[in-house]
Amino acid sequence: MSRRVSPGRIGKKPVNFSFDGRSFQGYAGDTLASALLANDQMLLGRSFKYHRPRGLITLGSEEPNALVTIGSGARQTPNTRATTQELYEGLSASSQNRYPSLKFDLLSVNDRLSRFLTAGFYYKTFMWPRSFWESVYEPLIRRAAGLGKLSEVEDADQYDKGFLHCDCLVIGGGIAGLEAALEAAHQGKAVILCDENPRLGGMELFDSAPIDSVEGLIKELQSLSNVRLMSRTTVQGAFDHGVYSALTQNTDHLAQPHKAAPRQTLWRIYSSEAVLASGAHERMIAFDNNDRPGVMLSSALRGYLNYFGVLAGDTCAVFGCHDDARKTVVDLHAAGAKVIWIDTRSAHEPVDGVQCFTDARVVDTRGRHRLKGIEIEQGGERFWLPCDALGVAGGWNPRVQLTCHQGGRPRWSNDVGGFISGTDLPPGMRVVGAAAGEYLRGNWSPVWDVSKRGSAFVDPQNDVTVKDIKLAHQEGFISVEHLKRYTTLGMATDQGKNANTLGIGVLSQHTGNAIESVGTTLFRPPYTPVAIGALAGRARGKAFKPTRLTPSHEFATRQGASFVTVGNWLRAAYFPQAGETHWRESVDREALAVRNAVGVCDVTTLGKIDVQGRDAAQFLNLVYANGFLKLPVGKTRYGLMLREDGIVFDDGTAARLSENHFVVTTTTANAVPVYRHMEFVHQCLAPNLDVHLISTTESWAQFAVAGPRSRELLQRIVDLEISNEAFGFMACAETRLLDGTPARLFRISFSGELAYELAVPARFGNSLMQTLLEVGADLGATPYGTEALGVLRIEKGHAAGNELDGRTTAVNLGLGQMVAQTKDSIGRVLANRDLLANSTLRLVGFRSDQQILTGSWLIPPGRSSEQDNTLGWVSSACYSPNLGCYIAIGFISDADQYLGAQLRAVSLLDKVDVGVSVVSPHFIDPEGERLRV
């Protein structure tokens, strides 16, 4: 049995925990693995495919077998390595991938069927009958597969992010890392040292020798102000230009973490220099049934003894092909265990009192839930010996993962007996210590596969055996990449740390090709699996993206407005009044108020860009498809902006406030892209123009004041003569309100009514909204939202986002004549391409007494509903309270010929097919008289 024989290096503070419902006791400083081992709990999990019983085989984050689920509900964490989970009071863990219980798992029948379930078997069957894949085979396979379970409950923890800068990042806190950190610190560099373990010291901690030197180094580093030591912090990726990602575990080791404490912190570390001191991990040898609980790596057997004081068995065998085996033998022997030493080599320094077989190998094992014995082959003879623990020293794999993250290829080193980093390291990175093969160049005899039947596990978690590798090769999957994909070798949660090198070794042994010619092993980020929550950081729920509030948001909230998300903005969609039960009632009322009296709408979200400088007009003349040189001061002009490819980009207005000063407005959606585009045109295409751009979207609260009585209302607000004569259609002015508030007034209309847009500094926006409604109460002043805004602009036939879908041209919109052919402007040339210039697709209007659905397609009566019969689509639709019918605008080809015709607006999705008449898109006041009164 396995038991605690000493306090090791962790002391004796008792800690209670449970596994699969049973209560146990361990010590503070234990990992879940060491504590279970101390309690003789060797069986920890089931394998992925054959559901074979498994115990732990490693000491650390490369553990492939001992995966458990920690906690439950909103904090249920599946696939947690028992070997890295620190013990805390009350920890509750359970085993995975077994039913009904860990000891008795129904699906272990797969093990009996293993001969049928070889690599790739599913590619060769389950093809008949066709319909059975989704309905029968796949559901069965999916249920059998997978490891742990998510609770499907929202993660209760918060996550955290940060950015760190240093001159030298040291990865790994073993002796080599500590020394490298100290050296850099003494050169005056700002140093960050990260280590994935709770305690610095690395492998030294797991040996029996004293660790004074390590502790001395740590003390000195702690005393230095330019050194930041970060334990429980794993460097996960090495990205371009010295950017590293690192994950700090803040709370997973605590019984009662602080409520607000983020579970993990994801750091982005900027460092021009990095020292990789990540050490190495040991490797298994392929012998039959090398996966039984009780078979582990020699270093693990030793580490559990020296650090945790846990002796894994009464009779411990050590099977090695490497000097390292001896250290384990010595320590086990000293701890009073009966030790059997099997070594593939013929000569090595013996250990007194230890039975030793040289030129020998372990070829098989027995024991279902716990190792009972091993079969040894020596000098052509085979014999069984009883033992309840086996440590395997198959050689070492330097942890070169991070050297691969920018395409580096590790190379095989015979004297190390493992893959070490190639020459193509990430810029600024160097490798030291065991990660570079130091200390590993011991006496090693290459041994990979010593199995009799090939039922030796190369990738234990994915149940990839020597047999599978041979079969894949036999079927022509020769390249390592093919092998990996066909057998899933190295695709387990240890990311091939255990399997890759052994797999390549086995392949090389059986093909007779040298390892370097078989292939190498590559790694991609992350170094160990990272919680998705940590990568998302603080971006959760409402904080997923920033929220932008309009100046009158507080007013709208008080009015009980219903809000809609437009980009990152929250806008009032409509303002329901007492008695209104359906949103349409509110919207109709608001739209009618604008046509018959006056309405007020917060249009601050429209982009605003200040364009100033001696060449401002010339600049706009290049940016807009229509002309701007002759726009007089005090006037506003509608502007059509094209992309260079001639497609409509955006539309808006430009008001000339003074000779060298324009204010440009954009659509809400394009505020940022248009600003970017204008800076591009200025800096990249016309750098010599005297133009200075600045966004003022945020600075000004802007309100549409629209309706026949808008002038009457505004005359009570602004300190400016605004009669039709004094302030005609498209006029603009910088002025003041009667109370002295600075303001800008534009006589522009989106609704088609007599209308203005009034802007004041944002801080006054909320107050202005209320004032307009109070002062205009007797005129019927009504707040309206985006819904009514939409109705009004559809009634007027104004194109908006739905029409400007990035494919429509000025011609399509009926604005072809706006593209000036007499000057250069962005998009002007490519807008003249055949199929664009000669397109017959036009914006038209539709009327019906039935509801027209946006996104319907238009088909002539009597034609079947298929694409070839469609003439176009409905881009925007609504009910028009002013016309008392349903209306829409959209695009159809050969529009002129269909004007006045009857068509069907068909939405197969909704099984809706309504008759519509094709009309001009300008439903209201086509001559535009209302604008000019």
């Binding site: 230009h241 800076e679 990249c684 250069d824 391409r833």
Partner: protein, 89 residues
């Protein structure tokens, strides 16, 4: 990635918006005889080299400079950064 802004020094590329091939600086003459072909090539054809690539980045979350960055598309190494407005187009 990090971009060494000529005025601001090293900044995280996340602050920038990418536009692409710096050949966009050489906008053809709108009134030349072959304007249509010239603009089609200008807008659509890319040499797309595997190696050094001159490209446009916009420091949107910074000083709003358009930069011409010379970057190796095989290694992502950046060998030169200039202000677009100071590059002779």
């Amino acid at each position: 990635m990090l971009i060494n802004h000529p005025l601001l020094g090293l900044r995280d590329a996340q602050e920038f918006v990418y536009k692409g091939d710096a050949s966009l600086l050489q906008r053809p003459q709108y009134d030349s005889d072959n304007a249509l072909d010239a603009f089609t090539n200008y807008a659509y054809l890319r040499s797309n080299p595997a190696g050094l690539h001159q490209e446009l980045w916009y420091h949107e979350q910074g000083d709003r400079s358009w930069l011409v960055v010379t970057r190796n598309t095989l290694t992502h190494e950046i060998v030169n950064v200039e202000l677009a407005s100071e590059v002779d187009a």
